[in-house]
Subunit: 237 residues, 4 copies
């Protein structure tokens, strides 16, 4: 979304109403096609055909297939980031914030982003050549709310400090992506997944892992240990 018009291609950029509509159309259909087919199997021909326009028109608004795809992914990131940041329940307890993040992401991805998620994951690596590393900043902004949440949790003692942030992030994002893959890849997805329930359950699991080993638990363990020692001493006597 964001700087959509500004990054537009080619000749001029008065960004008239018509031209903006075209750009939006192409981005919309481009998103569909890229999501369905992946970068390589998507063709500019198909994008044009679905819109009922000439292929040349696509190239009037975007310098090339790659740029179009970059825009598609960029816009998608922008949307997710904006939506996420906007609804974040900052006042509420940390666990609730985590719940919000997990639920929101699962929903956003499943609504339309599922193919795009794949797109980013498979083409984002690249190094090969396609789709340069232009997404690193976006990726960072995208994970920022989660990273921030984890940091604050560590600072307040609610989240364990004995693990690197990166690992905690993988612990949260990994299962989410995995769940999404299952949903997408499942050819006989007879049963439609209940996203909200899954989010609920996942957060419960994650929170167990993230929490600082609790004070009470620690105290009780010490008690048991002491007791055990005392018993042994007593028996030895």
């Amino acid at each position: 979304m964001a700087a959509a018009g500004a990054r537009a291609a080619g000749r001029r950029s008065p960004a008239s109403a018509k031209s903006e509509q075209r750009i939006r159309d192409i981005l919309r259909v481009g998103r569909e096609v890229f999501a369905e087919k992946g970068y390589e199997r998507a063709t500019t021909t198909e994008i044009a055909q679905r819109l009922g326009i000439s292929e040349a028109t696509v190239f009037t608004y975007f310098r090339g297939k790659r740029e179009l795809c970059v825009r598609v992914i960029g816009d998608w990131y922008d949307e997710i980031i904006a939506t996420t940041e906007q609804g974040m329940p900052r006042g509420q307890p940390l666990r609730e914030q985590l719940h919000y993040l997990v639920r929101t992401h699962l929903r956003l991805f499943l609504i339309q982003g599922t193919g795009l998620c794949a797109l980013v994951l498979s083409e984002g690596r690249s190094k090969g050549q396609a789709l340069g590393e232009s997404f690193l900043p976006l990726q960072r902004r995208y994970t920022a709310p989660l990273m921030d949440l984890l940091s604050r949790g560590q600072a307040s003692g609610e989240i364990r400090r004995d693990m690197p942030l990166r690992l905690l992030r993988s612990l949260v994002l990994g299962p989410m992506e995995h769940i999404l893959w299952e949903v997408v890849a499942a050819p006989t997805s007879g049963r439609v997944v209940d996203i909200d329930a899954a989010a609920e359950q996942l957060v419960t699991l994650l929170w167990s892992a993230l929490q600082a080993p609790e004070a009470e638990l620690a105290a009780l363990r010490r008690l048991r240990a002491d007791l055990s020692t005392a018993l042994q001493r007593s028996q030895a006597a």
Copy 2:
């Protein structure tokens, strides 16, 4: 490896030693190329060139690019499955078995599978046409040890029963894949990840989440209560 030969292309029959060697060569190099480039960007030309053979020869042994790729992925699955099942420390505690699985997978993927992992993940979908759904059985066999472990844990009460197995599986596999993507995608992130340390930490986190949540805590509380009662009785006497 394992069942590699068994599923061999059923074209010619004699399966001479020479033939088999050729097939193995093509599969080996095919794996390299597919792993490096992904399905679409890999070319039969390159595979032939790296082997110093004619492109046509590749087609003598494999019906086409797709079939070759399917075989490459299949063999890779076979290898991983075999290796994993073979080393599984069945006698040891559940946590140790989980540790083994996590460590083994991270290692196997990082050694050579990182590109193949991407290959499977990104091409595995594609209801379009490429790389059909022939991998579902493999995928099932591949996650079988983990699923089995989780089942046993639930049966023994060591692992919480209030979560569906699928979710627990995602909880374990998701972070592993996420960590691998980070490693692969990282623009030569100076610091090389210490796989074994990461496995260790990840298992610690996972185990917190997997354990039956209140079991230990409840046991300890009962202990404290009993103790308290005993004390009071003793003092009353």
Copy 3:
């Protein structure tokens, strides 16, 4: 410039001041672009962009790319012809007039015409279709001063009569073009050519070739003979 307006595109009639300015702008920038890129690699898009106008506007004033290019070349010829004819030192000795022609052409070409020179030379042929043979008359007018000079020289006996005019013309124009190519093609050949010096030297060479071969020599020999006779007579006295 000169007859530029006269041959203007005969589309609209009023030829308002504004119109004429537009036409001149497009011709000016068109000349730049064609000179820099050659006919094929020049694009109407670039011409429009450099002027900050719409591509369509170019087509409002010129029937197409080809016509524009023809006009550009035509105007350039007009300029050169006008400039050349205007400064011609008609009163002075023939050799001086030749010097003027050589010097003037080298200068004109190098100032801006170098690319145009190439343009004419390479596109001038192309019986194919681009840039028709409309330039023959111009070409003739362009070489007219030189041809005239050579004719007069032959008439007066200063220039040898035993060679066809065409050949003499090639003898003069050829080296000039060759020198220009060297300058243009030179991969930024450190040393900038001193045009005036080159003209000087070239004329010296050319004049040796153009002069009636034995004229001077014969004259001098007769002088020596006369002198010798006179001396002998004087001594005899």
Copy 4:
């Protein structure tokens, strides 16, 4: 010619008889088309069509249009250089050697090279992008015999030493190219040029310009000058 097969493109280069024939065919037709149309207007499609083969076949043997064109030009240079060097009448007087060079070049160019000459001249400049500077070495070898001749002439005193070699080279090559252009460009070249006669005449002209100002002529000029001085003194007295 020369290293034809070696520089070939793409996959392998066993240089079988068939493959070599194909390469030669493509080069032959490519030369035709490039010569007729110039680099930009020539199309790989047309080259393939004239040969009755698929366009893809062209790309089997040459990496691309550019490479093909480079090879075409390179081979042409090779031919000219070889032919020229081979027939050079080294034992004979300098003037005869010059005559040979002029005659040979005019002939070679007119036989088939005329379009290629244009090709080299127009695309050789480039800097723009097409057809890199790969021809500088060839260009040097191509003018080497002439440069050598001029050097030897200067050393022996037969050719004037008061002019830079570059200029002398332009004096020789320039008219030749100009004559060729005339022949090629002339749309109504009713009269076919008599190459041998033209060469004869051109050499006569050039030789007058190149020769060192002759000893006798110099002496006579000094005499005339002395005389003139003496006369003036005598009259002043």
